[in-house]
């Protein structure tokens, strides 16, 4: 084979699924439920979060259907409140927070750093069980009649006025919080202590860096949410507490404690996604990520700045003008590391050998939509415009651009990217490219009109609206239908590919990460021998040399 081609692709037709791998090691339900293998736990997580994603998605569908007409036609206003609350709770705590870290991160981080497992396998399994308990508690809440506080549990609404199931939801999120803490803790410990020989900090793939940054936020932020929810639950139980003004409490204190977690939480949700994009962009433009160090540190910078911007959720809630000024300024600062990432990905593409496989299409979607989401965040971080735009559909559109357009795109990108490693089989390329395009179109149809609705003044969280907003809402609902198709397609063809997909071989993308240098699906202990890292991350020349050496060896044999 000539060395002139940049990539020497392996002959996939001869590849076979290795008989011994983590999926075939043991059989039976118990071997899954009691497993310590990070890849199996990641699989359990993948199944469970997909389940909750579709419940949350169905609720979103109901919201959009209700908003098709200006009157409350499909459901009563208080049912609508419950539906959007459950949508928010499920999507934030049961999907977005664990999405990339607990599934993809769980699967690939030990492989990427060259370890046999996460540092604490039992804690990892415990984290999944806590997640499942939290999930059941949320389902119980829905079955028992739901909760209508909004996912933010704003006091005194949550502590005083409402008679719905705040307690069970609060406890569910408390439990889910500990699941997230344990995942984050496990990642930090693994990245610090389990790296293979030669795997220095600056040889780590950027996916590891961004998950490390997200883990810091999980470990430091989530406990504060946990204790806040405990106080809300206690306050509802004994009718005295620190948040409800009727008992002498301070509702602003609730806001401070809640957003001290929940603002960093949006970085917990987006940072791992950014890590996926770094991997995918590098692999499919066949270039080292431009400004590796800057991208690595920008993740950490986002984590650090992320802790000092929470009060921008509270500009209209009675914090002092000076506090608002400082928090507004700090909010602008977060835009800097985010922009560093976007620019560096753009420069990675520059003069790269770009190919448009599905993960790359999703990654392009991410870059465009996240940029719009991020820029509109700057509008909202500016105190003056925030007072006009907050609590309108503008803010709904903003965070859906970041969370759905950003994180969900990144999640799907990552799932497609690592699917061959995970299952040993390729997903069908054409239909998945189609799904990626459908998702992108559907997404823009759904959420772009909401920016316009917001600037026109349509408030969020109402089941009815003035008739002049109907045209744009119809647009949005129609878009949501397309988006729904975009999300259903992957579940169908990915399931199909489990049996009928082409066999992937070890390294179908010719990517450089250590996870691609082992068999697919990997062995339970990941590597037969712990690898020694002797090159930088994203070193495609090293990979080329490896491939040549292997070819020569085979010719000799």
């Amino acid at each position: 084979m000539s060395a002139a081609t940049i990539v020497s692709l392996p002959d996939q037709s001869t590849a076979r699924i290795p008989k011994m791998n983590f999926l075939t090691k043991e059989n039976g339900l118990l071997s899954w439920l009691l497993t310590g293998d990070h890849k199996r736990i990641a699989t359990l997580y993948l199944i469970s979060i997909t389940f909750f994603f579709f419940i949350g998605g169905a609720l979103a569908g109901l919201i959009r259907l209700e908003l098709l007409t200006p009157q409350t036609s499909l459901m009563a206003a208080d049912t609508y409140n419950k539906v959007f609350t459950m949508h928010g709770v499920i999507m934030v705590f049961l999907f977005l927070v664990p999405s990339v870290p607990a599934t993809i991160g769980n699967f690939v981080i030990p492989l990427m750093v060259g370890a046999r497992d996460l540092a604490l396998p039992k804690i990892n399994l415990l984290s999944w069980y806590l997640y499942i308990i939290a999930g059941f508690m949320v389902i119980y809440t829905m079955a028992a009649g739901g909760v209508d506080t909004g996912w933010t549990f704003t006091s005194p609404l949550s502590t005083h006025y409402l008679n719905t199931h705040v307690i069970s939801t609060g406890l569910a999120i408390f439990v889910a919080g500990f699941s997230s803490i344990f995942t984050g803790l496990n990642f930090i410990v693994t990245i610090h202590k389990m790296r293979a020989p030669g795997m220095t900090w600056f040889r780590l793939p950027l996916f590891v860096w961004s998950n490390y940054a997200a883990s810091i936020l999980m470990v430091l932020g989530t406990p504060v949410l946990a204790i806040t929810l405990v106080l809300v639950v206690l306050e509802r139980t004994v009718h005295i507490g620190v948040f409800d003004p009727a008992y002498g409490g301070d509702p602003i204190l609730f806001q401070h404690l809640f957003w001290f977690y929940s603002h960093p939480a949006v970085y917990i949700m987006i940072l791992p996604g950014m890590g996926v994009i770094s991997e995918v962009v590098s692999t499919f433009s066949r270039k080292r990520v431009f400004g590796y160090t800057a991208v690595a540190f920008s993740s950490v910078a986002i984590a650090v700045f992320g802790f000092f911007v929470w009060a921008h959720h509270m500009f209209i809630m009675g914090i002092s003008n000076y506090a608002a000024l400082v928090f507004s300024l700090l909010t602008m600062l977060v835009a800097v590391p985010s922009a560093i990432k976007i620019f560096n990905w753009a420069f990675t593409l520059y003069k790269g050998s770009i190919t448009f496989e599905t993960p790359m299409l999703y990654a392009f979607g991410f870059m465009g939509l996240f940029t719009i989401g991020g820029m509109t965040g700057v509008f909202l971080g500016t105190t003056g415009t925030d007072i006009h735009l907050t609590e309108t559909y503008f803010i709904v559109a903003h965070f859906h651009f970041v969370m759905v357009g950003g994180m969900l795109m990144a999640f799907l990108s990552g799932i497609h990217f690592w699917w061959p490693k995970w299952t040993g089989r390729m997903y069908p390329e054409k239909i998945s490219q189609f799904a990626a395009v459908v998702t992108f179109i559907g997404f823009n149809f759904t959420f772009f009109p909401q920016f316009i609705l917001g600037t026109l003044g349509m408030p969020r969280r109402y089941a009815a609206y003035p008739p002049e907003f109907q045209a744009l809402n119809v647009f949005s609902t129609a878009g949501a239908t397309i988006l729904g198709v975009g999300y259903l397609l992957p579940i169908l063809y990915l399931t199909w590919s489990l049996k009928y997909g082409a066999v992937a071989g070890n390294n179908p993308w010719q990517a450089t990460g250590l996870e691609w240098q082992t068999q697919s699906p990997p062995l339970t202990e990941n590597f037969p021998v712990i690898p020694i890292m002797d090159h930088e991350a994203y070193d495609y020349e090293w990979l080329e040399k490896q491939n040549l050496a292997r070819l020569r060896q085979e010719e000799v044999v």
Binding site: P10, P121, V219, I240, G248, D250, P528
Partner: protein
């Protein structure tokens, strides 16, 4: 190609290095395992600091808002029992530290002895705490369940406390806020007691394991990490005690 790698992988996967039974399969060495779990415990304690931090923040803000109520309410605490409990916990930290030392020195009898002493002292702490809780119940100082403002509206009605502090009667709306103090008192000491209960449960398990000789063959990380947790719970109390009992003494 893939066939050859697969067999090579399969063959190599069978090879297992000799290592002590307590070394988990995914660690390269015992040192790495000790180092890793130790680091994990420190990180966990960091999350615990943030967890209690929320409560401390709420306490400090409410104390600033309702200072007179918080001062008078704290006068109702029993300093004698509080001090005794502080002493009990500090001594238990000492016995725990000795426990870690005996595990390192591979002295099984001493380890069991010190762990048992720590267990007894932990139970003593909870016992004293429950005496204090009972006292609050009798005085109607349990907000939401068993509450009356009487001792703050009319401090002289509680001669024992009045003799010492000569508290002035509080206005009814401020007297009500004493309930806030006791809400936080129960939330904070309750959360602390919950950590003690978790600690004692783990300790029970460890005493049995120690008797079987699990920690005296060179595998001390479990005892060491539990020690860290125990000291941490102790330190939380070291902050709770002055904040709740002492800073409003005069």
């Amino acid at each position: 190609m893939s066939k050859s790698t697969a067999t090579a992988n399969g063959a190599a996967a069978e090879v297992h290095h000799e290592h002590p039974p307590y070394q988990r399969h995914h660690f390269e060495s015992v040192e790495q395992q000790a180092d890793t779990t130790n680091f994990a415990m420190w990180l966990f304690l960091l999350t615990e600091i943030m967890f209690f931090g929320g409560l401390f923040t709420a306490y400090l803000i409410m104390r600033n808002w309702y200072y007179p109520a918080f001062v008078e309410a704290s006068h109702q605490l029993n300093i004698g029992w509080g001090t005794a409990n502080t002493g009990v916990l500090i001594v238990s930290s000492f016995t725990m530290a000795m426990g870690v030392w005996s595990a390192e020195m591979r002295k099984k009898g001493m380890l069991v002895l010190f762990l048992s002493l720590t267990w007894i002292l932990g139970m003593a702490f909870l016992g004293i705490k429950s005496i204090e809780y009972h006292e609050k119940w009798e005085k109607h100082h349990v907000p939401g369940l068993h509450w009356s403002d009487a001792s703050f509206l009319n401090p002289a009605s509680d001669p024992e406390v009045y003799k010492e502090y000569h508290d002035k009667p509080l206005a009814p709306d401020m007297a009500e806020k004493a309930g806030m103090y006791f809400f936080l008192y129960f939330a904070m000491t309750g959360m602390h007691a919950l950590h003690m209960i978790i600690g004692i449960s783990l300790l029970t398990f460890m005493i049995f394991r120690a008797r079987a000789g699990a920690y005296t063959t060179g595998h001390v990380t479990y005892v060491e990490n539990f020690g860290l947790y125990w000291h941490f719970v102790d330190i939380i109390w070291i902050f709770l005690f002055p904040l709740l009992y002492l800073i409003s003494r005069h």
